[in-house]
Subunit: 153 residues, 8 copies
């Protein structure tokens, strides 16, 4: 009988290596996880609309086209996920990360947030909707190992 | 036969008078709308947990308690709403506003965003999930009048 | 105990008097119905976006803005309806009428279509998803009277 | 771990080669997609009812039988899809394409429309409900590549 | 604050006075219930299609039209009900009563069945899906009084 | 890429060979279908409760226990099915077949009914909720072939 | 425009006066709440089945009948509630209180638990699913006042 | 064509060998079942939060953290299950078992309870929401064999 594959979506910050650290940690731990994520190539993501559907002069509509194409990917993968990890870094406004968290919460998906303590107060609503708040990628791996295999580090 | 009452939830920024301007505009236009909103008294909101459930020494759990109590209100009213208006101002991170937008989007609620153009790029995912992006409270009133009565200003 | 009010949404063609004939017929029959409809003023509907949210040079995005504002109204009222009547006339492509029918069908709403026999073959998928296909506004009133009061004409 | 297979339903026009062009493009790009579609043999589709369930003299009921049998296929595959592409050509009324779009929209499925600019105004409601509007089959392939692999052409 | 009105749908047999007995019993007990039911005039019900939508020669399609019009009423009222009572008598096949019970069960509606013991074995699947099986209309009234007011007879 | 397997649930009559005829026909046609069904061994089905959970003196509760155990199977498989075929024979009351049809209808599952014309009037509500009414097992196979492969016999 | 009435269901312990204290507190605070609850007359509740549907010799089935009748009330009112308060006392096993909490949680209803600290470890899963854990009925009133009026005590 | 794998979640008591007995019995019977369960290592389960996310001084919040991490596992697996078996032993309060049962019930999952007769009265609400109440692990295996293969022991 095939092992259950857990589907974990990694939402949020795209300017640090937290996804690689979680994916590497999970691989080293031998966890049966299929990770997914938004497109993390910032330049590609910003041109998702005009790069596929053609030129657009207005910045607002250019973003609108791009956000539509990106949403096909992100909303499909979030709906498909067993668990959504949402990372908030210290730069940028990252409203899309919070948007993804709200989207996941309304679908009843379990959420793990990942951020430093100085963001705690600003993220209290998002953390409350989560089942866990981690401070390091390693803690997320520990949560995944426990959830899937029932083992503590 | 009773007129239909539209339920409109006003999410987001709590440090400017945009809610009053929309509510006043709707009243002057005679629109049948029952507005709702999060608790907009910042101090009360921050003490929602400890002010009702008792003291808590840890800042993280204090926020956690408060966010839980606030979520009873906000998530009930969003689920109940016909339309969610989400306002982003130029201060603070306002992740809860983006969270509310994601929550509403996953429930299939129509959304109107309200923010200045300099936030456009940062809010592109939220704007894409919305049916309209307004720049002024007056525009939101115009949208409400049109949606409810079919009349342009 | 208050009488049940039936909510009936009248979708589709906006260039003939079929809505008035159904509403008049229902009123004369004393049926407890709250009718709703899209904005039927063609000019207003086409300017729903630019008339509320501001100018837009591109015809595509102008329509996009208008369709977003109109969708707030139509999708809310369709979700709210007990029954959706969809009228197809002999002019224009009326894809929005078929779109509304598909939207209502996926929500499990009962549908009554209203159109002439020469459109039967082109509308076969829509008619199949409907509980009834009527040829005249008077037949729709007869269906409503039967559904609500159990009386045949 | 198995690669995610994306399920893409190709709705609409059956009289041009747009499906082949998308399927060929996706195959050449090596995209992991399982395409599905309505029955595109027009004659078979028109006889779906009488060809399986027996003769029927009335044209209306003949269409009704056929549309029922076709709906088993189309609605199952749309419910099953990650993404629905809807093509509108310049001939025929294609109400079933718009119906499918409305059906997909109410289920929260992402939609990509595919049509020429001269249909823009007539299709504004459908385009608004879509995440992207493409003009060529190649653009649809570009969107699919980006959505699945995060790469621009 | 207004008293809660319970909505009770009375499905099934139309050839005995069980509905009147339940409605009278509930009225005498002063219970706040809004009862609803299918059209119980057998002749009208059989002509629901042709009496509203026009003549039809084929008996199968005549029934099909009638069943469609009746379904607008029955499925709307079942979706709207807090509780569905399903009565099986000793005559006729009453497949629509069992169909209504299955429909209500899949929607998570509580069901009370009402029938004599000689039908027990044949109705075991329906009774299992019900919260109670009553033998008399008076027992149904007793259940309603208990459910609404917490009082035993 | 793996072929889509269609899941077809065969509900209703257990005293004739209609299931075998459909399954054989589908196999001969090479259709990729995973059939499922209730337990069709009448004696086993009647003892489903007492044969697994222990003795029970009362006939009503014996049936209740059995129906509960059978419901685990039937409702799981119906929820899992792409298509539900419901067969009504000329014997027994077969209320569970009609119950299954109602259950499937409320879940939005496509239904094909299979019965002789003399049952048409009694089954009009069930037939109306179905996408097709077949008279022979061979017609059901023809529908399945068309639905899956788009080919007429 | 009518004030919003909040519907609050009070689940759990029936042997102390906590419901009265909450209802009195809410009335004194002038809060617009429609409270509901299971039948709290222990003797009536235990006879809910036999007192309405007739005698039953087996204790197991007697309870089964009673639980069915009670479930009509409790599940309807929980589905209808905006908020579910669940009280655990120090006596009895109160599995139905925990069952109600799980039922409410799966429906996405906000929950407030009410119990002493010595039950904390045993109730950790239920408390986690709740938005707040209160220790006194007065704290529940404070939460309700804040949620509805935005005011701290 | 691949055999259907049934997903069975084993909720409740973690201090006896009932899970092993069911799993062994199912394996001996050759049943195609993928079993899942909460983490049954009591010590690990109690440290699920602090063992993964870091220290926490307060017992209440320590439990809260642990329950959150455990809920990621349990609620995912319950949502994923075809059938939930809930075991109540004679020790501890086991509110989480009853919570899981309520959660499963609201999702429409079939439930089998497993407990001794002396718990019958206290568990009547949970048993009523179940499709079967078993007294031994062997009976559960018999139910599983019947449900999957249609065979009595």
């Amino acid at each position: 009988m095939a092992e259950r594959i857990w589907r974990v979506y990694l939402a949020g910050e795209i300017h640090s290596d937290w996804r690689e650290r979680i994916e590497n940690g999970a691989r080293e731990a031998g966890l049966p996880i299929a990770f997914s994520a938004p497109v993390t190539d910032h330049a590609a993501s910003d041109h998702a609309g005009t790069g596929t559907l053609g030129e657009e002069a207005s910045p607002f509509w250019r973003d609108h086209m791009g956000a539509g194409v990106n949403a096909i990917r992100t909303q499909t993968l979030i709906r498909d996920a067993d668990l959504v990890v949402v990372r908030f870094g210290d730069k940028y406004r990252q409203w899309n990360a919070a948007f993804d968290a709200g989207f996941a919460a309304a679908l009843g998906k379990p959420i793990v947030t990942l951020h430093d303590t100085e963001l705690d107060h600003a993220l209290k609503e998002v953390d409350r909707a989560a089942q866990a708040t981690a401070r390091t990628a390693e803690q997320v791996v520990d949560v995944l190992r426990y959830v899937i295999e029932g083992k503590l580090p």
